[in-house]
């Protein structure tokens, strides 16, 4: 079970440092400015970099180490990759990895005894891409080119035919991601709990989230109450989920907002993975991220997690 030890936040990029002898798991550096910054940071400090990309259709990982590409079944991630690299201290770069990779890494690392401690790196952007052609009145953001219809995540997929399910959604800017959950007309959730990132990465950003999702805060969507969580605080995210879980046994978590919130969701789901008493699942839409979706490099966060039994 993962617990947060501390969170370090750097305003000055020169002050950021990572432990020596570290192995880092990361995604595509070239998507935006901060990806490039992460690349330079890892090049400076890290012993070994491993590129990971989860393929949600074939349930496998693309792995690239020293320009050698490899495909690994979801079941082999632990034994054939993670276990081979336990002598290192582990960094997961959440800036470039998506929720799915973070979730599976945390889940499999949780099962490896020798790993007791990990760092998760996250770099905020200074601005997200603003789509000028706003059709409806509020701001639209062009962060994703295409959304998938919520492919299932092995280990974190629950069957809603079995019991009443609630929906807990961590919201971001793109209302389509939530809208899709409701318009796909499959499940009517018993209760919808939206969670707004507040404070946001920058003052006022929470208003973008609220404005874009206002129409869903309606009994029609079984909405009852808004909750708030700091945009860049996965610890708070975990706490809020634990609090929700104390009162309900079955819900789906949709981490469709900020990455730090998604990290908190991943920790929560992994910590409850083999709990027979509860039934928590994840809903994730694997957005195809737009190139240059954000600009600039903002604050840098390093979240330190350790394991307890």
């Amino acid at each position: 079970m993962w617990r947060f030890r501390n969170i370090k936040t750097y305003f000055n990029h020169d002050e950021v440092s990572l432990e020596k002898d570290t192995i880092a798991y990361h995604g595509d550096f070239l998507l935006d400015d901060r990806g490039k910054y992460v690349q330079s940071l890892l090049n400076k400090f890290v012993e070994k970099k491993i590129y990971l990309k989860y393929d949600e259709n074939d349930f496998l990982f693309l792995v690239n180490e020293n320009n050698t590409e490899n495909k690994l079944s979801k079941f082999d991630l632990k034994n054939k990759l993670l276990k081979q690299n336990i002598s290192h201290s582990v960094v997961i770069d959440a800036t470039t990895l998506s929720f799915a990779e973070i979730l599976f890494l945390l889940s499999d690392l949780n099962k490896i005894k020798d790993v007791q401690n990990i760092h998760i790196l996250y770099v905020e952007p200074s601005e997200y891409k603003f789509l000028n052609s706003s059709i409806t009145t509020y701001d639209e953001f062009a962060l994703s080119d295409k959304l998938q219809q919520f492919p299932p995540l092995p280990g974190f997929t629950i069957n809603t035919e079995l019991e009443h399910v609630e929906l807990v959604a961590f919201l971001g800017f793109e209302k389509q991601r939530l809208g899709q959950i409701f318009s796909s007309e499959e499940v009517i959730y018993d209760n919808f709990i939206p969670i707004i990132p507040l404070p946001g990465f920058s003052p006022g950003w929470e208003n973008r989230t609220i404005n874009n999702h206002l129409k869903f805060f309606d009994p029609r969507y079984r909405f009852s109450n808004v909750k708030y969580v700091s945009a860049n605080n996965p610890f708070q995210t975990l706490k809020i989920l634990e609090k929700l879980a104390a009162a309900r046994k079955c819900f789906r978590v949709a981490p469709i907002g900020t990455k730090p919130n998604a990290i908190g969701c991943a920790v929560f789901l992994v910590n409850n993975e083999n709990n027979d008493e509860t039934n928590f699942g994840a809903l994730y839409d694997f957005p195809v991220k737009s190139k240059n979706r954000s600009s600039g490099v903002g604050k840098v966060h390093i979240y330190n997690l350790f394991k307890i039994d």
């Binding site: 959304l147 219809q149 389509q176 809208g179 007309e185 499959e186 129409k215």
Partner: protein, 663 residues
């Protein structure tokens, strides 16, 4: 609150028992799923009532507590509605489970369907079925050992206790799927297991004459390999077990079965198109159905209204009664009284009596006369007593062929009741053709005004065009407006046309907003809808209003497929999500002789773009133009837009912002 009753417009929000709530379509006799002896395919777009239709045929409604007497005849066929959790079921596939996937899928379906069959038993026992003895025997019936052993149950278990066990297995299956390295507890065959249960029942003198008909909803969201398995069951379905499926119209679904050599012919199964066959075979069918739905809901709010008999609307025996002209008229009249409309002529009169609108008309007439270097007085062309002709004169005068002198004379002849001449007849026809366009032409200059053509029950039907969800949303928003205007206490209930138009505009904007959430390409669809809306709206600004009322288009090509791959993907998605409706080319616009398909923008968007919701004249786009609309950047689209401005000689186009709330 009245509005709250209309707020629920998704089937999932209704209880499973729809008796007294579901209005049977009038031609229902041909579409009673319970009379089918083979599986059928039910197709219907988003919001067309597919789920409600299926649920009407399922046991919760069949055995409704509101039905006081249920005999053996009523259970000749029992419908079982099943909507798989399509998110969950995606996990069952070859990439994830290797060769086991097939057995796992079968087991999943067997367990899920067993749950449904056992729920049926609960509902049956609770129902008003006449034979108490059967119920009593069923309550005490022990599951035969052979069967319980299949399920790893080693002790005696009553049939009515089995459901909880099965639920437990489904849980186990879900959790096993988290880490499916070893084998699952047991594997079952989907179809054979259900057949086995049915056989056990029949052997023990239960449901001897009953056929069980399973309706699988959301078929399109199953994986292709799942679809093939179900297709196979469907193909071999016969009494006492039949499988049917339902999916979104235009969805890509597999027709194949698991046996490679036998591809299932498209004609093997009857296809029921909910809109084209059942709900809206004609516009009148849809209108009556809508009227009854609205009336029954209003009655739910205020039982003093005695318009529909809720016991009759769901009953097949009563369809005959509902088919009478008197009944139809009574319904339509009632709903028209709730949502009154202004005839187009009355709207023209409204223009003449409204200072601002009338001034706009006069301004237009003056401008047209000036363009034609005519010295005639503008007042020759309008007359408060002849509003329709006056409003249309405001656009006719701009037409190249119109000579002001001749029009003046025509207008005078027209005003004199007795004069009959071929030219007056032609003029009258021109008036009727251009009236709506001419009215909209005046209103489009005033962003704050909402044209009353969007008000009225029958116009609601036009705007929702066979989409029940849109219809109910229009009613809902109208009642919200009524409640906000504090006029709720007024009896009989009546929503002023201005409030209705306001509600229509709201729904229109809301639907545009929702399009971005539909499917993987929602944002693209929204962009396309908006661009088309902008172009139709621009066309509405043509001074002459020749070929007016545009909300549909065709493309000047023999084959749309050749245009572009992405274009075709988006076109398909647009049809799938009902953003565009496809028609065979029928409009007799001579400029286009080669295209075979026409596409109408969903008419619920008409109020937002201040255009007509009637499919009258189409715009014929060149392949390059449609490519720009569907695929190109805003800058490219802006160029196209400017090209149309020039081509159509629109002078006040700059009033339109390309984006944002200017419509």
């Amino acid at each position: 609150m009245l509005s709250q009753i209309f707020k629920k417009n998704r089937a999932e929000e209704f209880p499973d028992d729809l008796w007294g709530k579901y209005v049977l379509p009038l031609n229902y006799a041909q579409f009673n799923l319970l009379h089918e002896t083979k599986g059928v395919k039910v197709v219907g777009g988003r919001g067309t009532g597919k789920t409600m239709y299926l649920k009407y045929h399922a046991y919760n409604t069949q055995l409704s507590k509101q039905r006081m007497l249920i005999t053996e005849d009523n259970i000749n066929t029992i419908g079982i509605y099943w909507k798989p959790d399509t998110h969950f079921v995606q996990l069952i596939n070859k990439s994830y489970l290797n060769d086991k996937w097939d057995a796992v899928f079968n087991t999943y379906v067997a367990l899920s369907l067993m749950m449904k069959f056992l729920e049926f038993i609960d509902v049956f026992l609770d129902s008003n079925y006449h034979d108490e003895d059967t119920k009593e025997r069923l309550k005490n019936f022990t599951v035969p050992k052979d069967f319980s052993e299949e399920l790893n149950i080693n002790q005696e278990v009553l049939l009515i206790e089995l459901k909880e066990r099965i639920r437990g297995f489904l849980f186990k299956l879900q959790n096993w799927l988290h880490n499916p390295i070893k084998d699952f507890l047991f594997y079952l065959d989907g179809k054979a297991t259900i057949e086995y249960i049915i056989q056990i029942w029949k052997d023990n003198n239960f449901f001897k004459k009953t056929t069980f008909h399973i309706f699988i909803d959301e078929f399109e969201n199953l994986r292709e390999e799942h679809q093939k398995i179900i297709n196979t069951w469907m193909k071999h379905g016969a009494s006492p077990l039949i499988f049917s499926i339902a999916y979104k119209k235009h969805a890509y679904v597999s027709d194949n079965t698991t046996s490679k050599e036998h591809t299932q012919g498209r004609n093997d199964h009857r296809i029921i198109d909910l809109v084209d066959d059942v709900y809206a075979k004609t516009d009148d069918d849809f209108k009556l159905l809508s009227a009854e739905i609205i009336a029954s809901k209003i009655q739910e709010y205020d039982s003093q209204y005695k318009i529909v008999d809720n016991d009759k609307i769901s009953s097949e025996e009563e369809v005959k009664y509902r088919r009478s002209i008197e009944y139809k008229n009574k319904m339509i009249e009632f709903v028209n009284s709730i949502f009154p409309s202004l005839r187009y002529g009355e709207i023209a009169a409204l223009v003449m009596s409204d200072k601002t609108l009338k001034n706009k008309l006069i301004k237009n007439i003056k401008l047209a006369l000036k363009t034609k270097n005519s010295t005639l007085k503008d007042s020759y062309f309008y007359d408060d007593d002849f509003p329709e002709a006056s409003v249309v004169n405001g656009t006719l005068l701009f037409r190249t062929r119109t000579k002001p002198e001749e029009l003046k004379k025509l207008f005078n002849d027209y005003k004199k009741a007795g004069v009959q001449s071929p030219s007056v007849t032609a003029y009258k026809e021109q008036i009727s053709n251009a009236l709506v366009g001419s009215i909209l032409y005046i209103y489009i200059s005033f962003p704050q005004r909402i044209c009353p053509i969007y008000a009225g029950f029958e116009r609601f039907c036009l705007m929702s065009r066979n989409n029940l969800r849109h219809l109910l949303e229009l009613c809902y928003q109208s009642f919200v407006e009524l409640e906000n205007s504090n006029n709720l206490e007024q009896k009989p209930i009546k929503v002023d046309f201005n409030l209705q138009a306001k509600a229509a505009k709201f729904c229109s904007r809301q639907e545009l907003d929702t399009i971005s959430e539909l499917g993987s390409y929602g944002k693209d669809l929204q962009k396309i809808a908006n661009r088309l809306g902008i172009i139709f709206s621009l066309k509405q600004k043509i001074k002459t209003q020749s070929k007016p009322e545009n909300i549909h288009f065709s493309v000047e090509t023999h084959s749309l497929e050749t245009i572009d791959e992405k274009f075709n993907i988006l076109l398909h998605e647009a049809k799938l999500w009902n953003v565009l409706q496809e028609f065979d080319g029928t409009t007799k616009d001579t400029s286009d002789s080669i295209s075979t398909k026409e596409f109408m923008l969903t008419p619920i968007l008409a109020p937002y773009y201040k255009i007509s919701m009637r499919k009258i004249h189409k715009i014929v786009f060149k392949p390059d133009e449609i490519k720009t609309i569907f695929l190109k950047s805003d800058t490219e689209f802006d160029k196209l837009y400017k090209k149309f401005v020039k081509e159509w000689k629109i002078e006040n186009a700059e009033d339109l912002g390309l984006f944002g709330e200017n419509y």
